[in-house]
Each structure stands twice: as structure tokens, then as C-alpha cells.
Symmetry: C2
């Protein structure tokens, strides 16, 4: 089995590539849930949904979230009532949120419900929430010192504000979700997807048992840098890294990952940083990491799988 | 001010008639909330919504619930996931439920949220939930002795099963909603709409302070029988009355209402029961009560308002 630690879009794209070269049933994704939020009473799991919809081939490639061919009747109605609509929820997407919320209310776990939804979408890859406990990312705004929820930062403020701190509320008391530790311990290879190191991969590794498990598998762990040429391909990873004192480069990523990942995969454009990364004690693999097509995703996945441990 | 105790469709139709002959801002509806339910995490208030949508002229006259011109994208999605869909929620209607749930989560009361929604629908009549406390109707099935929620009985089982008991969970500790008692005490007239006496009007009067207030205004209280010719025009009122030991007739309704309503308005078809009703100590007004058109609703409303107290 191949285990991938996953955030949203970057991870979803990588996993699609991986599914092209490996039997999907041999793959496990351990997915960040610290972006999860309850809005209008509905339990929303953005990263789980992005991975689910992408693997099902029904994701909206333009937005990077939600479903393709969506309609917006509910949001139009909510808007006409003067309701809160900064977090847009499509009609089909809402079906997922209603299903999840209802099943969680029944007392079933996010792991079970995620598996049910994946199964309805005919996904053979195992999608494991990092935890069934409530872990919630908050960010502190640099200007005001105010702490806001991750979705307020990411969606409402379109991550266009400087951040001075990140906190994963609840993480200290959280336990890994079922099968997470066993999967990591027994995996042939562990891949850290090209997701935001601070707010997507960060929360997964902030669960101490998961951190220890990954650390114990350092030589089999291959991380893919989400930073290419000093920039995040999507989202605020580069800015967040700079704001929080990390160099927004593949070297900065290497410093964050070196204790638990034996190998860092970087883009051709960053080849000049190879020596600096190797000096940190990581193997460095240079390839095309910009997944602009399924072929490139598959090729990247193949390169990652071929890393010797 | 005219106060109307209201359930769903019958009350909504009567209130529409009343609005044709009285300034809507002089009307108050005290609405049953014991049918309220939380489904998929969403707070649903069927009677409040029926009255709101009807007074706004956007109700679906065919179903008696929901909005006209609805679409069903969310339910289709939920259904494709194998979710619970016996309680159908249209896309536009869901906007209302998301709005309500979000506002209640903010910590505001159902009274406030109901008023906000009514205001967005340009409704000038004051819509008051009977209580802001959780009161929930349960029915016991005659066959199995199993107790189920009202919506399971009413919607899922289409009220096609015999009932041996009704219980309003939480009603003993419930308090009237804001303005309810003051409205009743100071009203020029109090009207009991032609709603189900047992499961629509029953819960409102099961709140002891409301019962006492209405009882103190007996001479100004006019009830309209929802039973016409021994049958309910809509819903299970006649069967429920029979099953629970009440005569399913205007006389049965009179027996239920005589302690707190001075007058019962019955349909022409039931004129032969006038003497029996008067023998119970109620005034009896005979008129056309089948509100098959707005004109008839307005005429019924006019008759009710003209009852001398």
C-alpha cells in the first residue's frame, strides 16, 4: 500500500496521477480535516470533498473546489434572505453536506461517512480523515492580532491578509483516525502530497501519534514540494511561509520536512537548490512537478514511486 | 390587534383571507412549533414556513408545503448518495433552512429569526413562534406501541397508521415565546384557525401560560372547526380524533374547545349540530368554511371578525 498525506487541490491532482499508474485500491489518502467547518448547521470537509470529487472525476477544475456543472439555487435563496453566502455551496455539493451531517448526527464517525460517500462515488482508493476528533485551524491576523477561523481567512478574506500565527485548536487531545497509524506503519511508501506545508500537511503532522509514525518511516517518506520557483502554484503557501518566518522556497520546505521525510521532490526550475537540500540530509529528486495535465501527474507519481528508500 | 393561533395549511389559508379584509400589520399569528425538526443538521419549522410562504404568495398550492416553482437538485444529490430523502426539501426552501439554522447557531431566537425571514418576504403580519423552547410532538403507533416523531408519522408514514397517543415532549418546561401572552391578553379578538385540534392547536395550548391566557379571553375567542361533515379537509385530524377517543365531528371539536373558546364557527353542512354545540355552552356560527378560494377565505374571516363577544 502507498499512503499519501493530503490536503486539497494539489493532493487531489497528485492522487489522480497516482491512480493512473497504480491500482486505486492499493492507495490510501490520509486527509487533513482541520479545514472542516460547520456552516448553517452543515458539516463541511473541504479537503475530503476536493479529493473525493477529483478522484471521481466530477470536480470543478476551474474553481478547485465543488462539483462540475453545479447550480446555485440554495445560495440564491439564502442570499435573497440576507444570509451568509461568502462560503458558496452548490446545490449538488450540498447533497454531500446534508448526507455527511445526517450520518454524523446518527453517531457514525467521519471515517465511516467519508468511506460511504467515496463508495457512492465509486472510489476505490481508501480516504481516511486524519482524525475523527474536532481539530480546527485558526490564524492570527498580523495587523489586528485577531484570531479567525481558517475558512474566514481562506475563503471570506481570500487569504489576502498577512498572518502572524497558526493554531490547530483541539489537536493536542486528538487521536489519529482509525487505520491511519496502521497504514503508515505498514506502507510500502509514504508520500507527502504537494499541499500547503503549514495549513494542510501541518495539521496532520500536529497529531503527535501521526508525527511519530511518519518519523519512524522517514526513509520511506517522499515529500513533493508545493513551492515551485519560490511560489505556490495555488493558494497562500508561499506567503504564509514568509509571514511565519520560513523561507518560501524548496529549501524552506526541506527545512520543514527534513526530520520525517527522507526525500524531497522538487521542480526542474529549482534544480539549483539541490545541494542545499542534500546538505539538510534529504535526498533530492528533480523532475517536472507542475501537474498541468494528467500525464504530468502520472509521470510525477511514477518518479515518486521509483524513489529508492 | 387580532391574534390567530395557527398550524399549517388551514391556518395559512385563513390568514390570507384575513389579510384581505384587515390591515396585515394589525394581525398576529401564534404558530405551532412542535412539528419543528432537525434534519441533516438543519432546523426546519414546517408550520412557520407554510404560513410565511402562503402570506408571501409563494407557497405551492398543490403540495400544501414548500415553495412554488421549486427545483430539487440537493435532494437528487442526496438521493444519489443513498441519503435520507423522505422529507423532501426543495432548493429554494433549503435557503430558508440554512438561514434559520445559521441564525439560531448565532444564538438568536426563533422569534427573531422568524421575524427576519418574514420581513425578507415583505410580510407585515407578525408571526410569533408559540415558544423558543424545544417542544416536540411524538405519536405512539397503535399497532406496535412504538413512539415516533411527528414528521415520521406525518411525512414518512403519510399519517396512514393508527395512533394511540400523542405527547408534546418538553412542553411542561416550555415558556411562551416573546409577545405571545401580551398579544393574547390585549387582542381585540382571538381566533383559533381551522388547524388540527390535536397536533397543531394542541401543542400551543399545552403551554400552560398560553392556555391560561386564552382561557381568560374565552368570550373573545372564536374557533373555526377544521372538521367539516365529519371529515378533515386535509390531513389526519378526523382519524386522530377518532383514534384518541374524540368524536370526529364539529361536536367533538366543540368539546375540545369549549373551555377556552366562546364561539365555534362551523360549516353549513354541519348546521344540524348547532343545538348540540350550544348545549355545550358555546355560541355557534354557521357559514361556508371550505376555503376553496381567497374570496371564501375572506368571507369566512369577515364572519369570524363579526362575531360579537
Amino acid at each position: 500500500m502507498i499512503v499519501t498525506l493530503a490536503g486539497g487541490v494539489g493532493a487531489a491532482r497528485f492522487l489522480k496521477g497516482l491512480c493512473l499508474i497504480q491500482p486505486p485500491e492499493d492507495l490510501i489518502a490520509v486527509i487533513n480535516t482541520a479545514d472542516d467547518t460547520v456552516l448553517h448547521g452543515l458539516h463541511i470537509s473541504p479537503d475530503i470533498d476536493t479529493v473525493t470529487y477529483s478522484l471521481a472525476g466530477v470536480d470543478n477544475p476551474e474553481t478547485g473546489w465543488g462539483l462540475i456543472g453545479e447550480t446555485w439555487k440554495v445560495m440564491e435563496s439564502l442570499n435573497s434572505l440576507g444570509g451568509v453566502t461568502w462560503f458558496q455551496l452548490g446545490d449538488k455539493d450540498l447533497g454531500t453536506h446534508l448526507y455527511r451531517t445526517n450520518r454524523l448526527t446518527d453517531g457514525d464517525s467521519l471515517t465511516t461517512v467519508t468511506s460511504e460517500i467515496a463508495s457512492q462515488f465509486k472510489i476505490k482508493t481508501k480516504l481516511l480523515p486524519m482524525t475523527n476528533d474536532k481539530v480546527s485551524t485558526f490564524v492570527t491576523l498580523a495587523d489586528s492580532g485577531e484570531e479567525i477561523s481558517f475558512q474566514e481567512y481562506f475563503v471570506k478574506l481570500k487569504h489576502s491578509v498577512a498572518v502572524s500565527d497558526i493554531r490547530f485548536d483541539g489537536v493536542k487531545d486528538s487521536r489519529p483516525g482509525p487505520e491511519v497509524i496502521e497504514s503508515i506503519i505498514s506502507a510500502e511508501k509514504i508520500i507527502i502530497a504537494p499541499s500547503n506545508p503549514l495549513v494542510s500537511i501541518g495539521p496532520i503532522l500536529a497529531i503527535s501519534e501521526i508525527f511519530s509514525a511518519i518519523q519512524s518511516r522517514r526513509e520511506s517518506t517522499v515529500a513533493i514540494s508545493p513551492i515551485v520557483g519560490g511560489l505556490a502554484l495555488k493558494g497562500p503557501a508561499d506567503r504564509l511561509m514568509r509571514e511565519l518566518g520560513h523561507e518560501p522556497s524548496v529549501v524552506g520546505v526541506a527545512r520543514l520536512y527534513k526530520d520525517f521525510a527522507g526525500t524531497l521532490v522538487i521542480d526542474n526550475i529549482d534544480e539549483s537548490h539541490r545541494t542545499a537540500i542534500e546538505a539538510l540530509g534529504m535526498r533530492c529528486v528533480v523532475t517536472d512537478t507542475v501537474m498541468s495535465s494528467p500525464t504530468i501527474s502520472a509521470s510525477l507519481a511514477s518518479t515518486v514511486l521509483n524513489v529508492e528508500s
